[in-house]
Subunit: 245 residues, 2 copies
DNA sequence: TGCCCGAATATCGTATACAATTTCCTTGAC
DNA sequence: GTCAAGGAAATTGTATACGATATTCGGGCA
């Protein structure tokens, strides 16, 4: 009965529902709760949903043309991710990721990355070492062409390579999670002028330390590398909204 | 049927609009999903549910005499915690939290705790300092009475005090999350004999370093403190199930 | 006028029913 | 005898309904 084909009221369809020739592929976009979660997550990250706003289950359900059930699941997942706060009989509220908390997140990110670098210097195997060198080369190539978008992408790959090389799968997963969460905010600092060249130099020192098996140096370099990003970001945000709130 | 008023259902951070500390108790009634989640969590931790086993929603629902809805919520929370893997239209499968991954988790936990200690040594304010001292005193009291259960509880409080004292709310939340996840496994090592006295001595050194503002020492002591726990735990597990099938 | 108590309202948690997809078994053809 | 195709059974995902509980507003009483 609920052959709900009126998707006009909702931006629910991210990819064509015609999954005709891909029966083996994992159904990425078919589960509505995941779809709703992703959309809400993006809206929160971009600030479209301002802090403190209440996410009304019924309203969200009506907006996407679904029932409360998938909305509930989506909101619960957002709560687990720390993006919204659940107050028992009051509803779900968008948590304000203020500048202070962002700095805190960068601080933790720096520690995790530094740990990954320290472990990588001790445990890296030849295959991962090659991948790391390749990722560094790709960064350098992008920097020489002065393409900040490409550098942004290769930078992601570089840090992924470090995660992979650390030999601690759990740490890698946690680092990826945090990286993903900070990603939305990091986009803003894409076009800081001399940052790219400086970042590349830091990458070189990091790789050199890992290659040399010098865990202490790799740790220190990586921590500084991330903390600098956090500070730059804080400056940027502070300059963008000087009298926020 | 001991009613555990464990409020660790979700991230109930009091952050939204005018969310002051709510003196009203959480849904201390019976939230069935939380209860089911706790039981399943413990079963998975103890190995009662072996790795790869499928968690049948109807079976669990029938077992607890509830409908599938709270079971689904519980399973989703377990998935968020990383204890089970969700395959879209196939079901939930118990992830094998092998000894290797547990060691990895303790490694990360050690790093986060050490970071918290380092920051606490620099940033702790008088009020938190008093709380830390009180937590240490409570630990000592429990140790003198040789009550391991009480010590276990006070130990939790002690580490909570360190999280609070670090001045980084995000780090504190992440540390609590990991601590919570490891808690299920840590239950097993309650009664390791001389561990309590040794742990207390380590606590004393940690507090002394924080009081002295010596971040480096606090960091090193805490890291060692957690890593020792991880090693003890690994020994225990290894001795418990040598050929876990 | 202020406080307490109770009903109305809203929201959450759970139960039940239905739809969609996957898996497995049966059956038929080569 | 083996393999493939189709359908039935099973299981997940979603919809709708209902009960329980907390919040709020209004009225009565001190």
């Amino acid at each position: 009965m609920q052959r709900r084909s009126d998707q006009s009221a909702a931006t629910l369809v991210a990819d064509p529902p015609e999954a005709e020739v891909s029966p083996r592929r994992p159904p990425a976009g078919r589960v509505k709760s995941a779809e709703i979660r992703d959309i809400l997550e993006q809206e929160i990250a971009t600030g479209e949903r301002h802090a403190g706003e209440r996410l009304d289950e019924q309203a969200v359900a009506a907006r996407f043309g679904v029932s409360r059930t998938p909305v509930r699941e989506a909101i619960n997942q957002l709560a687990s991710a720390g993006l919204v706060a659940l107050i028992p009989n009051r509803g779900a509220f968008v948590r304000e990721t203020g500048l202070g908390e962002l700095v805190e997140m960068f601080e933790v990110m720096a520690e995790l990355e530094a740990m990954a670098g320290r472990l990588a210097a001790r445990r890296v195997d030849p295959k991962r070492r090659v991948q790391l060198a390749e990722a560094l080369a790709a960064c350098q190539s992008a920097a020489e062409r002065n393409e900040s978008d490409a550098y942004y992408y290769e930078n992601e790959r570089f840090h992924e390579a470090i995660y992979d090389a650390c030999g601690n799968g759990f740490l890698a997963a946690e680092a990826r999670r945090l990286h993903q969460r900070l990603k939305a905010f990091r986009r803003l600092q894409l076009r800081v002028p001399h940052r790219m060249r400086q970042s590349l130099a830091e990458h070189r020192r990091i790789v050199a330390a890992i290659e040399a098996g010098d865990g202490e140096t790799a740790e220190a370099e990586l921590k500084s590398h991330i903390l600098v990003q956090g500070e730059r970001f804080a400056d940027l945000v502070a300059s963008l909204k000087p009298k926020q709130g």
